[in-house]
Each structure stands twice: as structure tokens, then as C-alpha cells.
């Protein structure tokens, strides 16, 4: 356990160092208390501050809609979220430090699971306030999966792939057809084969099937494009995206351009959360193994990688299919969150959004992907009242990031779970 970057105990606690000594567990418990507080007093406080309702996304939407309410919104956020989180985290510091030290010494894996549990509890309570919050959280989590899986290809491997919407569509349609035909009475696929009760348990199978379909699509791209390096992948994968889209548009069996609706409501918040955690965990495992580091070697110098016994073609194909697999899973979840898909969703607009999240957050970095996906999603929602100007502000922001941090906000940083959950006292 490294503690060298921490100030010595006994020295005067400045504000910053005192915060630096709070472990992650403390912050999470603080956040949990804050959302509990919102549950209990949020509505009354909002009324007292003359807000029309509880601010849905930290008051940003309210502020842009009616600038007169800016002070109220700021007060709300301060009183409900910021102050309680800080106060609780600071006051429980000795306790949470001892607790996280104990858990860490017991087993880092158990400690990580407990951290996730507390985090999920806070997220769940927060999102329970409104359906809009639930939807935003689900879509943000799916965006994290998409961003991370694309980062694997565009960041870690350094090839430019444009086919993510195509993989997503393959996953979404495969999973939808699976659940619609087996567990529901639908106009298109006839009566249910199994009792609807089995559905939620077989939902993972539907998603995994969707993931494998996407990976099979990736194989079709990978075979011709990984013979050599260069722009081939970008062109072939872009073509693949359009092929998938028009293929679906022309298949009347699955609704054609009208889309496919009525998917059963299996993608609840816990399911999406668990899949996201699984995705982050597996991809992070992969990129930290020697097999995953081979991707970086291929990106930085393929000839040298070859000379150091790395099977470069196999490495690239594996990673590409793995990324596509997770895009397929994300697509399946997406279809079951919105309970409706149509081919127009999986076009160039979707591609631009995912690419923006990858390059905004940072290449070759799990942190970066999470930050990119969350910030782009929340920003997109928060700036909604600005209507058309939203599409000026977000690209401007992206340009600024590209100028000052060409590889993204948090690029080339290893996602170190042990360091994240260690005690800091």
C-alpha cells in the first residue's frame, strides 16, 4: 500500500489535504446520505425555494429554462447534494478509513464489490425520484459500454473503426427478436413459446446472442481489413454500418424502416448496471494483461511487435471482435430500455456521438471513456433547453478539448481499482 503521496498525519489539516484523506468509501457514503436527504426533504425544499419541481439533473435544465431561478437551483444543489456529501464524508473520515483498510486487507475484490454496492444504492435512490432520471442513467450506462468498447479499437489498438452503430444494431435486433418471439405475443412473431416468467432469466442469453451476432459481423470486416495497416478499416467499417442499416430497412420480417417495438421490460436499472460493470471489468482486465498490451504494441510499432513474437493479426482480430461483442450487448440493452428500435437510430448521428465521447474522454483509458460518456450524456440532456444552440456548444467544447488535450481529457491512464478503493488515512 503506497501512502507516500499523502501528507503526514499530525500536520495542520488544510482544506485540500483534509479532503485528500477521505477514502472513496467516505465519498460514496456521503453521496448516499445526500440522496436520502433528497428523498426526505427534496420536494419541500424545492417548494420553499419556489422551484416548480425537484430539479431533475442538478438544476441545470431549470437554470437554462428560467434564468430567474438560478439562485434557487444553486441553493438546492448546495443544500441537498454538495454540503451533505462533504460534511458526511469529512465527519465519517476516521470511520471510513478504518473500514476501507479492514476491507482492503480482507480482500480487495470484496471491498470493490461493497464499493459498487454503495454506489449502486446511491444511484438507485437518486434515480427513483423521476422516470426521466432512470432513463438518463440507463442511457448513460449504455453509453459507457459503447464508448469503452470503441476505445478498445480506436484508442488501444489505434485503428479507426466506424462500424459501432452497425454492431449495436445487430445486437439490438438479435436480442429483440429473441425476446419478442420467445416471451411475448406479438403481431410479427406469433404467440409466446415460453411462459413470460422465464424471460428475465433468459434475458442475458438474448444479450449474449446479440453480442455474438455483432462479433460475427466484426469478423466479416476484420478478415479483409487487417491484412495490412492503413485506412482500410475506416472505409470498410463505414460501409458495413450503412449495409447493416439498409439491410434492416429492407427486411419486412423485422419491421423494416418502421422499426420493431414492444420489447418486454427486462432492462431495469440493476440489469443495465450489472452489465456495465461487467463490461468495464472485462475490458479493463483485458487491456492490462500482456495479451491486451499487445494492442498498444501493434499501434505504436507493428513491425517491432511482430519481431517480438506477437501474433499481430490475431491480436487485432480478437480485440476488434471483443469490442464489437460489447457494442452488441449495449445495443440489446438499448433496445430493451427504449422498448422500440428502428434502423434510423443506428446511423451516422449515432456514430458521431460515440466517436465524440471516445475522443472527448480520452484515448487508451478506461477513466477517459467513463468521463467522456457521462459528461457528453449529461451535457446533452442539460443543454436541451437551448435547442439548436446545443449543437453549437457541444462541438465547440470538443474542438477546445482537441486543441488543449489532443488525446482527450484523461488519456493513457491506467484504471487502477486497488488504488481507487484503498484507505487514505
Amino acid at each position: 500500500m503506497k501512502n507516500t503521496d499523502l501528507p503526514e498525519a499530525g500536520k495542520q489539516d488544510t482544506f485540500r489535504t483534509s479532503l485528500a484523506r477521505i477514502p472513496l468509501l467516505g465519498w460514496l457514503i456521503g453521496a448516499l446520505v445526500a440522496v436520502l436527504l433528497e428523498h426526505l426533504t427534496g420536494l419541500r425544499l424545492a417548494e420553499a425555494l419556489l422551484l416548480p419541481k425537484v430539479p431533475v439533473l442538478f438544476g441545470l435544465v431549470t437554470m437554462l429554462k428560467t434564468p430567474l431561478l438560478i439562485p434557487s437551483s444553486v441553493f438546492y444543489v448546495l443544500l441537498i447534494y454538495i454540503l451533505p456529501t462533504f460534511i458526511v464524508a469529512r465527519l465519517t473520515r476516521p470511520l471510513t478509513n478504518r473500514l476501507s483498510a479492514g476491507l482492503f486487507n480482507l480482500s480487495p475484490a470484496v471491498s470493490a464489490v461493497i464499493h459498487l454496492g454503495v454506489f449502486y444504492a446511491a444511484l438507485h435512490l437518486w434515480s427513483e425520484i423521476s422516470d426521466y432520471r432512470v432513463l438518463t442513467v440507463k442511457l448513460t450506462l449504455i453509453a459507457i459500454m459503447l464508448t469503452l468498447s470503441l476505445n478498445l479499437i480506436n484508442g488501444y489498438m489505434g485503428e479507426f473503426s466506424c462500424s459501432h452503430p452497425g454492431f449495436m444494431a445487430l445486437g439490438a435486433y438479435t436480442a429483440s427478436v429473441f425476446t419478442l418471439s420467445l416471451f411475448t405475443d406479438s403481431r410479427m412473431f406469433g404467440t409466446a413459446v415460453f411462459q413470460a416468467g422465464y424471460g428475465p432469466f433468459l434475458f442475458p442469453a438474448a444479450l449474449i446472442l446479440g453480442g455474438f451476432t455483432a462479433a460475427a459481423g466484426a469478423l466479416i470486416i476484420a478478415i479483409p481489413s487487417f491484412r495490412t495497416r492503413g485506412d482500410y478499416l475506416a472505409i470498410i467499417s463505414l460501409a458495413f454500418m450503412f449495409i447493416v442499416k439498409s439491410m434492416i430497412e429492407n427486411m419486412e420480417v423485422i419491421g423494416g424502416p418502421r422499426g420493431l417495438g414492444g420489447q418486454p421490460d427486462y432492462a431495469n436499472l440493476p440489469a443495465v448496471f450489472v452489465w456495465t460493470v461487467l463490461c468495464v471489468w472485462m475490458i479493463n482486465n483485458f487491456v492490462q494483461s500482456v495479451l491486451g498490451k499487445a494492442l498498444n504494441a501493434v499501434r505504436d510499432d507493428e513491425t517491432a511487435a511482430d519481431a517480438m513474437t506477437v501474433n499481430t493479426r490475431q491480436t487485432k482480430m480478437t480485440a476488434f471482435m471483443f469490442g464489437a461483442f460489447w457494442a452488441g450487448i449495449a445495443g440489446g440493452l438499448f433496445a430493451h430500455v427504449l422498448r422500440y428500435v428502428n434502423p434510423a437510430t443506428f446511423g451516422i448521428q449515432n456514430l458521431a456521438e460515440v466517436l465524440a465521447m471516445v475522443y472527448f474522454g480520452g484515448l487508451n483509458s478506461v477513466y477517459g471513456s467513463i468521463v467522456g460518456a457521462v459528461s457528453m450524456n449529461l451535457l446533452g440532456e442539460a443543454l436541451r433547453p437551448l435547442e439548436i444552440y446545443k449543437w453549437i456548444i457541444i462541438p465547440l467544447l470538443l474542438i477546445l478539448v482537441m486543441i488543449f488535450r489532443p488525446a482527450g481529457l484523461i488519456a493513457f491512464k491506467e484504471f487502477n481499482v486497488r488504488n481507487l478503493i484503498r484507505p487514505r488515512g
Binding site: N285, F286, V290, K293, D306, A307
Partner: protein, 256 residues
């Protein structure tokens, strides 16, 4: 039987005859040199043997097996390690990661281990890491282990590249100008390192060099390549006094 035997290797780039009728036999533990003026085709010989190019004619026999047409990574994992003239390090990776990655072909945990972080993976990666550290220590760069490789001084980068090549557990090590851009002090150290590597691991070494002083001191046998053809071969003393070499390579005056 020699460890590596090359018979009548010939290669063309379009109409240009890059290497013509090249022959070589290296015994285990030997240090051999390949010299020649710029553009003589020395690096091409390396690239032909290591599989980056496929020779138009001829045989490359490693340990009794003809390896012509094999993918470079397969040739490398059969025991043919190399370094590069212009370093070719991976610019975003740390020193330790370089030496760990060069042990790629030894990994058996597969994708399951990579995706799920199995105990087998942890054990193998710990072994790989330990071996990487011992190689870095031998090259005297273990204190740079966690640094990004491009932040290192040039001489240290050369050592990292050597450690990386050794991590592939070669039977023969190909060194493409191992002392390019080094000052006399670093050059002395490099000669020591090459000898040490040969003595510790028993590998044969085949090197391209521009600095004749070093080749003469280090190599047991030297070939001289001019316009893709070997014009002289022998012990350093013979090469030094061969009039053809002096004329083609050194010009009319004797510098050595």
C-alpha cells in the same frame, strides 16, 4: 550442423538486385559481423532472414527447419530475436511493459485468462514480470522500469531494446547497428554487454555495424557486403588487410 544456415538467398526490389546469392552459416555461441557501405543491403539481409520480406530464392534453415515464408512472429518465436537500427520502441509503453510483452509467445492463459483475470494469469504474469526485472537488472536499467520509454536517455533506450530482444529467448540475436549514435563511453559499455549476453545465455550474435573498431574487436568472423554481394569473408585480420574491402568499403586510404 550449424544453428542457422542460409543458402543462395537472392532478392530483388523491382529491377533492383538487393541481395544476390547470399550464404551464411552460424554456429551456436558465435559472434559474427556484417559490414558494408551505406545501401549495401545489410538491413535487407536481416529483414529477409527475420521474415519481414520473403526471399525470391534460397533457403533459410534454422535448427534444421526451412523458415522461408513464415510470418515474422513465428520466426521470432522459433528463436530469432532482433533489435532495430532506429530503435522501434513502443512510445506509449513503460520499460517494464516492453520486456513483459516480448514474452508474449510464452503465455498460455489465453483469452479466458485475459478477460476474467484467472489465478493462472496472475501466476504467469508474476513470472513474466520477475523475468523482465532480471533482464532489466542485467542491462542496468531496472530503475527506469515504470517510466515511459521515450523519456529515457538514448543509451538507456538501446539497453531496453536489448533486454526486450533477449526476453523472446532467442538462440540467435540479430543486432542492427547496436552502437549507432553512441559516444565512446557508451560504445565501450555496449561491447561489454554484448559479450556478457553471449556468455550468459550462450546465444549466437549476428551484428551489423558501421564502426569498424567495434566489429574488429568483437567478431570472430566478418562478412563484407557490397551492392548485395559478399565480397570478402573471414577473421577480422583477413578483412582488415583484404584489398577489395579496403577499396570498396574504406576507400583508398587505410583508416583502421
Amino acid at each position: 550442423m550449424p544453428l542457422l544456415e542460409i543458402k543462395n538467398m537472392t532478392h530483388h526490389f523491382g529491377g533492383l538486385r538487393a541481395v544476390h546469392d547470399y550464404n551464411l552459416a552460424i554456429e551456436p555461441g558465435q559472434i559474427r559481423g556484417l559490414i558494408g557501405p551505406n545501401g549495401a543491403g545489410k538491413t535487407t539481409v536481416f529483414n529477409l532472414i527475420t521474415g519481414i520480406y520473403k526471399p525470391a530464392q534460397g533457403h533459410v534453415i534454422l535448427d534444421g527447419e526451412n523458415i522461408v515464408g513464415f510470418q515474422p512472429y513465428r520466426i521470432a518465436s522459433k528463436g530469432l530475436g532482433r533489435t532495430f537500427q532506429n530503435l522501434r520502441l513502443w512510445r506509449h509503453m513503460t520499460v517494464l511493459e516492453h520486456v513483459k510483452l516480448a514474452q508474449y509467445s510464452k503465455i498460455t492463459y489465453g483469452l479466458i485468462g485475459a478477460f476474467f483475470g484467472t489465478p493462472k494469469r496472475r501466476k504467469e504474469e508474476a513470472e513474466i514480470k520477475e523475468k523482465a526485472y532480471s533482464l532489466l537488472k542485467m542491462m542496468g536499467v531496472e530503475h527506469f522500469a515504470d517510466q515511459i520509454v521515450i523519456n529515457l536517455p538514448y543509451g538507456a533506450q538501446r539497453r531496453v531494446e536489448m533486454a526486450r530482444a533477449l526476453a523472446t529467448e532467442p538462440k540467435i540475436l540479430f543486432l542492427d547497428e547496436p552502437t549507432a549514435g553512441m559516444n565512446p563511453e557508451e560504445l565501450r559499455q555496449m561491447i561489454g554487454i554484448i559479450r556478457q549476453v553471449r556468455d550468459t545465455f550462450g546465444v549466437a550474435i549476428f551484428l551489423i555495424e558501421h564502426r569498424l573498431r567495434m566489429v574488429m574487436e568483437l567478431c570472430e568472423q566478418i562478412q563484407t557486403l557490397v551492392f548485395g554481394e559478399v565480397i570478402a569473408e573471414g577473421v577480422p585480420e583477413d578483412i582488415r588487410n583484404n584489398p577489395k574491402v579496403i577499396e570498396a568499403y574504406l576507400g583508398k586510404e587505410i583508416i583502421v
